[in-house]
Symmetry: C2
Subunit: 429 residues, 2 copies
Amino acid sequence: MSLINDILNGKVADYLKNIAEKERVLLDFLCQGIREGTIVVPRNLKRTSAAFVAIGKGLFTKVNANVGTSRDRVDIDCEIEKAKVSEKYGADAVMDLSTWGDLSLLRRRIMEAVKIPLGTVPVYEIAYENIKRGQNIEEASWQEFFDVVEKQAREGVDFMTIHAGVCRETMSIFHAFPRKMGIVSRGGAMTAKWMARNKAENPFFQYYDKLLDILLEHDVCISLGDGMRPGCIADATDKVQLRELAILGELAERAHQRGVQVMIEGPGHIPLHEIELNMKIQQVLCRNKPFYVLGPVVTDIAPGYDHITSAIGGAVAASSGADFLCYVTPSEHLKLPDVEDVRTGVIASKIAAHAADIVKRGDVASERDREMSFYRRKRDWNSQIACAIDPEKARSMHADGISETEDVCTMCSEFCPIKMIDEMENKKS
Amino acid sequence: MSLINDILNGKVADYLKNIAEKERVLLDFLCQGIREGTIVVPRNLKRTSAAFVAIGKGLFTKVNANVGTSRDRVDIDCEIEKAKVSEKYGADAVMDLSTWGDLSLLRRRIMEAVKIPLGTVPVYEIAYENIKRGQNIEEASWQEFFDVVEKQAREGVDFMTIHAGVCRETMSIFHAFPRKMGIVSRGGAMTAKWMARNKAENPFFQYYDKLLDILLEHDVCISLGDGMRPGCIADATDKVQLRELAILGELAERAHQRGVQVMIEGPGHIPLHEIELNMKIQQVLCRNKPFYVLGPVVTDIAPGYDHITSAIGGAVAASSGADFLCYVTPSEHLKLPDVEDVRTGVIASKIAAHAADIVKRGDVASERDREMSFYRRKRDWNSQIACAIDPEKARSMHADGISETEDVCTMCSEFCPIKMIDEMENKKS
């Protein structure tokens, strides 16, 4: 039985109580959110040992980290290390976006290595399997689309990105209104290519109910991919992006009606002043289904720093309603991330999520900020470090900044304002 | 003659034409802004060789970088290097916040090393001079406050932070409504301490006209410091911050009426949803005078990453009207920044400023984004790198990500979506 159907039948699993406690919401609120589709708990029926994470309205903002091989970089141990580092620094989910190597083995090893939910993009495996056979994605049969989903579902994948919105209608708009960057979603491009060569509808769109049957059986959460997300500021909020989003809203409703948990994926490259608008449009078109955004990246000109462009966009997106931020690393637009890029990307996204949670959840979210300022006022450096989002980094930077003379840092030394005010108020001698 | 008075008398210096061209505004618009006080061009009459930079309404958002010694770190060459790196990565101004060593020498060397305007905080020099005499700031005479300002003005400083809003009225509110973090402005704390010990009004507040006389003579721009900026999320937008801002608005008006160019300094630690509000309040209370903000930092818990918390806050602040962003480096709250911290801080602030300029100035600001996406679509890596905000970083990261087989990067390799779509559209074979 799927989680939605369990709840509809009055069955409330124990782990939901733990989630409610961790999220600091009432259990009834959590169950209502799942029932109404504003909250998802992506977990495959097979994954009994995994951590359970809830994503959606009224909860803390969650962060996803991507790992995975490419043809140029197949190093399974390195990808496992990335998954572990992601979990260590607070990622709430990990997606394996591998496109080369032993994909089943990699998924199994990730599930052994980390407890957070695992997501995938099945169309990548279809593409790779065809390459292995000396073919390419266009030569896949429509049946393969479903075989791979079923295989991954059996292996225990918790959520899957399915680009069902890349359909004939979307493609006709895509061709009618050319974009500067075209399609920048890998899964979207693969699907579009398959459709063009086969002069056929997207199998996931055409046989969507068949897809839902498989997902329902294993209770896999569907994450409706935005194949048409804008790949540059100039393409943001354009006709094809909005039309696809409307279609995703309809598909999401069908999934939810069947008892399949569903999220919507969103942009992308979006200028700062269009982010809130994008969040509100999604809320209306997709009836408040959880919104899972990549970035948004607020300028195109900062390769090497797209964890920062995305932290800006992600904080604004989440504070206007996005529920789940896909991290972006410094290596975005340049190369496959290494372990250090992954660490930096996760932390930047966690900062964005937390800054937004202060907006969304007020005092419940800012407890740690109050704790930090309490220790900062006391100049209690060890407690400040313990309270930091990355204690290792804070410790090593502070070690380089210990004043020779006093309990202050080298920024102000003698003239630490906090110390001066304490002296003024005679709190300290 | 001061710039404002020149313009009132119909004298339009040649350099204003260059500024108007660079800012892509009409010369009349620029002159009107200076006349009305919504734009400043901080430049000491002595500084004929400096670059002229305009800050304010309708212009591109500017970035300031801080350099300067502290008792624990007195290395003039290192500070000069920081100033040069700041200018190289696009800072529009530099402030010397030194509190130890030969301050006059350091200022002279910075003015020789970089062309961007130089700002200072004179009260730091007063504090240090008293320490050198075996005293402390409380023992300074009120006359010293003006002597130091005059000395620095003669040396050629272009703008000065003056904490004139830390006055008896502000302090009574400060004591009546205790804050978690008290005062976190160094200059604010020095002033408060001096006032408490001497049971006297702040000399810069009490003899404000005398201060304006000196500044007017050298045409130094006054930057009214926010001694009461909140030092943690919990103190944001509180009574004392707002009362000080109202006083700064009144003082700004008096400066402007005298023909002294004036900016207002602003917060600080502010949660994301209060930033726009803070910008709007400043615009009303200070009649659209240029707003120069530090951060804002949107969460307290990220020491080591405050360039990111500030990029988030700075982008939102500038897109809602802030004109001038003071950078924050990764070492904020931990130590005096080193050269690498300075570089990272400047770039993070430049990203925030640019993301906001896309909002404020539309197509004029996003030209480079369109250029970047043009080259990205063509997979022209060298041109993308040339177009990047930090070409060195982009080049080195891409060098680590060159695919063995194709003109794509190692992120997607074989499955580059841009290449797939090109193939689909038969643009390439």
